[in-house]
Amino acid sequence: MAALLCGIAFLNLSLFALGGEMKNADSSKQNRIEIKDFAFNPKTLTVKSGEKITWINHDDEPHTVVSVEKQFKKSTALDTDQEFTVTAGAPGTYTYFCSVHPKMTGTIVVEK
């Protein structure tokens, strides 16, 4: 399956595309998902294709961001204050979870 959400960055140091389309006009917009108390907030986030999505971990516990259907590259374990960024690709609904604490789930809706 093609990578539909693409691009990855750690600690905002770099951003590199893994393939798929990047729309320059929207790519600077940041959508943030806060990880706190073992939950993704907001639990469902709607973005436009080409926008970046960044998760930041505020817990004293490591968390991961993993696509349920393996539709985008998974994060490594994010320690406290660490971030993970992807760039939204093709429109669709993407569910993800924390592979360390699988009760933690979230959804990204990518619109055109």
Partner: protein, 321 residues
């Protein structure tokens, strides 16, 4: 004595009142004991203080340590290496050393090689050299447990993701892995391959063989809302139903909880690193910060003793204060 509670149950488990009483003690960080057999009324600290030795009738004594989280340095405990050392000091102070240790997972906080190295370095100070491991989810964060298996499970010739069994003094020990390939929305998981192995592993054993199962995440539904349970543990326990004595030792939840169901005793151990809240008492199960003077009373280890001819093993927890 005021610093522990002792119950002695042969078969039928613990009554509700006793359990609640135990919970209350555990909640205040004091020691409690639930015993199915004999010898449950002496803590490690008492044995060390008295300078005595374990009664000769003890056929096997081993220790469970858990959740060292080496590398953790947040408010809940800024020096987890030190508290791990203290736990080992307690073991070394036992006049009759345990036969071996069991570590029920989360050696490290972030699966970093240097965290494992620190753990191994500190563990060298332990006089008891024989240690059996099962991984926690913190030990297999980025590589599916490859590094962990190479380092801790090679000598036991672990199968699959790291499960294995061995015999000591007539007791059959089974180390299980329930922290890998977790599914979205789910709990800990053993998986078909491991369950099939387990069924075959115990097939030839007599029903009077005492069984000890150890795994990281509890094999009973402690609090599924926080992920404190294992989705397919019922199937595993089904294979163990015919045995007269089954003791299940888990970590993961950083507190002592116990449940007795028929011939099966479920028990979770304290961490040597930091406490976690009682089920449902906090917004999340994350590390719990307590006043510094209370910390060591909420950390600890578990001593397990087996006497031939007794149906159940005695499980004794002691804290590090």
């Amino acid at each position: 004595m005021s610093d522990y509670i002792s119950h002695d149950h042969e078969h039928d488990g613990i009554d509700r009142r006793g359990f609640l009483q135990c919970m209350a003690w555990a909640g205040t960080g004091l020691l409690w004991t639930v015993s199915g057999g004999v010898l449950a009324s002496r803590t490690l600290a008492e044995i060390a203080k008295a300078g005595g030795s374990l009664p000769a009738a003890t056929d096997l004594s081993f220790l469970q340590i858990s959740d060292s989280h080496i590398g953790f340095s947040k408010e809940a405990n800024k020096d987890v290496t030190e508290t791990f050392k203290i736990a080992l000091d307690r073991i070394n102070a036992m006049p009759t050393p345990p036969s071996f240790l069991i570590h029920t997972g989360d050696i490290t906080q972030l699966s970093k090689p240097e965290e494992f190295d620190t753990f191994d370095q500190v563990l060298k100070s332990c006089k008891t050299k024989d240690v059996f491991f099962v991984p926690g989810e913190h030990d297999v964060l980025n590589d599916g447990g490859k590094f962990y298996r190479e380092r801790y499970l090679k000598s036991v010739e672990a199968k699959g993701a790291g499960w294995y069994s061995f015999n000591k003094n007539g007791v059959h020990f089974i180390g299980l892995v329930n922290v890998l390939n977790l599914q979205a929305g789910g709990l800990g998981q053993l998986g078909d391959e491991q369950l099939e192995w387990l069924e075959a592993d115990v097939k030839g054993l007599g029903a009077d063989t005492p069984i000890v199962v150890f795994a990281h995440i509890p094999l009973w539904a402690v609090y599924p809302q926080w992920g404190w349970g294992t989705s397919d543990s019922e199937r595993a326990l089904g294979y163990l139903k015919r045995f007269g004595s089954v003791t299940v030792l888990n970590g993961h939840i950083h507190q002592v909880l116990q449940k007795v169901e028929g011939n099966v005793t479920f028990h979770t151990a304290m961490s040597t690193a930091f406490p976690q809240p009682a089920p449902g008492t906090a917004p999340s199960p994350g590390p719990m910060k307590v006043p510094a003077e209370q910390l060591r009373s909420l950390l600890g280890l578990t001593n397990v003793q087996y006497k031939q001819g007794k149906s159940a093993l005695a499980v004794v927890d002691s804290n590090l204060s």
